[in-house]
């Protein structure tokens, strides 16, 4: 498997090579790798890469995958336009013209 051609985070184009380099550098959690590389910060919010990164951490540190700390799952569950949210606020405040 070519590490530099294997995409782990498809939203942000982060390769296996980059993830492994981070882990070798001493980063111990998905949260840290997310902050340094942006892996998991794209539109899907880490649905694919979160577990793949967890596997890498588990194998590097020789720990069961359940022991890898999961990042916080943040709202909204799926992308939603600011316009729809703005309208919802106006509606809850008593009509579009309020």
């Amino acid at each position: 498997m070519r590490e530099n051609e294997t995409i782990i985070c498809r939203c942000e184009d982060i390769t296996l090579e980059e993830i492994r380099a981070c882990i070798r550098e001493g980063y111990q959690t998905i949260d840290e790798i997310k902050r340094v590389t942006r892996a998991g910060m794209g539109p899907c919010q880490g649905r694919t890469c979160r577990l793949l990164i967890a596997q890498e951490l588990a194998s590097y540190y020789h720990i069961p995958i359940e022991e890898v700390l999961m990042p916080t799952f943040r709202p909204p569950t799926k992308p939603i336009t600011m316009g729809a949210l703005a309208d919802a606020w106006k509606e809850s405040q008593g009509g579009a013209d309020a």
């Binding site: 949260d31 340094v36 943040r74 336009t81 316009g83 919802a88 606020w89």
Partner: protein, 381 residues
């Protein structure tokens, strides 16, 4: 982690890491930095990533100005092999009322005295700086090109990695649970990873700093306030500058990555609440789409919450505990710790190593709240 260190720094955010870097740069080598989770897990990693010099109080403005000078070459300064993604696209501060406009004129006077290159704008000139800005109700604005954005994660890593190269030990997932004192001075720190002897503690735990200080009997008038933010999907460059309003209480900036990061000022009771709210998501979007209608089309990707460590006058509190010698707290940054950290770290390191500094550190002493000699900052979201 050894059994003892000369100095223990608590908190792995930008404040703790930059102080560790500046102290070790001055030859103070025997330092341990402890962080209860991972670096930038607290306020630094949750902040709006803005840097600005357009402050209304001279002390805030001068510290922010000198911090920007350091951020402009932080990679070289700390030996960091990645970029801190500094982008000086400017801050546009929008005035919606005459009162606000008049305050801005006073702020400009303060800034010009320090050599900050800020200036006033007509509504039309505001539109040139921030295309798509809704000019309804816009009275004018001020602008400074040197303001902008830096990546808080990379900036903190730059300091942390530099500090480690200079001999500092960093212990993550290590929570402080107590302190030991002897003869009225600090002598040790209890942590979840064991006891550490020390001669000095520097408490940089942001909103948890008052609670830690209370363990040695010190009282710091700083409280925690939840602020929320959200980020959109990345799009092509639309607006180069940060757009910010105090009266309508919003800020929004497109990052170099293409996403927009934004937030609104809350009216909340003090708490350590780290949860996101649905109400923020909707209200923020309503306020932002009113100011910049083009944002209506953008998808929100993620929202989060963090804490401002609010001090009564919106200036930091840097002081030794009256009840415990060699226990220092550096907190109360009131939502702008990230952008002033580089200069604050130099100030603190100069003070602790007995070197001269152009800023008098005692101005940040908490005695100002008793003497009434407080520092007023009119411009905070």
């Amino acid at each position: 982690m050894k059994k003892g260190y000369d100095i223990v720094i608590i908190g792995g955010g930008i404040i703790g890491c930059s102080i560790a870097f500046e102290l070790s740069k001055r030859g103070v080598k025997d330092i341990l930095l402890v962080e209860k989770r991972f670096l930038t897990a607290g306020a630094t990693g949750r902040c709006g990533a803005g840097i600005r010099q357009q402050w209304g109080a001279e002390l805030n403005a001068s510290i922010a100005l000198e911090s920007t000078h350091i951020l402009e070459h932080l990679e070289e300064y700390t030996g960091y092999d990645k970029s801190i993604e500094l982008h000086q696209g400017g801050y546009l501060l929008v005035a919606y009322t005459e009162k606000e406009w008049n305050q801005f004129q006073k702020n400009l006077e303060v800034q010009h005295k320090l050599g900050i290159e800020s200036y006033g704008l007509t509504p039309q000139e505001c539109l040139e700086k921030a295309p798509y800005l809704n000019l309804d109700g816009v009275y004018g604005g001020t602008f400074c090109q040197k303001d902008g954005h830096a990546n808080p994660f990379h900036s903190t890593q730059a300091y942390a990695k530099g500090a480690m190269r200079q001999g500092v030990d960093i212990e993550t997932f290590c929570e402080v649970t107590g302190f030991r004192t002897q003869g009225g001075a600090i002598c040790g720190v209890e942590t979840t990873k064991g006891y550490v002897e020390t001669k000095m503690v520097i408490n940089c735990a942001n909103t948890y700093a008052p609670e830690l200080a209370a363990m040695v009997g010190d009282e710091i008038p700083v409280y925690s306030e939840r602020h929320q933010a959200l980020v959109t999907e990345p799009v092509a460059p639309l607006i180069d500058c940060m757009v910010m309003s105090f009266s309508r209480s919003y800020y929004v900036q497109q990052t170099p990555h293409g996403s927009f990061v934004m937030g609104i000022g809350p009216k909340e009771e003090p708490s350590h609440n780290f949860h996101s709210s649905w109400q923020f998501l909707e209200q923020n979007c309503a306020i932002m789409c009113e100011a910049l209608p083009i944002l209506r089309k953008l998808n929100v990707i993620r929202q989060w919450a963090g804490q401002y460590d609010m001090s009564p006058d919106r200036h930091p509190v840097i002081d030794e505990a009256e009840t415990c010698k060699n226990f220092y707290s550096v907190c109360g940054f009131s939502g702008h710790g990230f952008m002033v950290a580089p200069r604050i770290a130099i100030l603190m390191a100069n003070f602790l190593t007995g070197q001269k500094d152009s800023i008098d550190i005692h101005k940040f002493s908490k005695t100002r709240f008793k003497t009434g000699d407080i520092l007023i900052e009119p411009s905070v979201v």
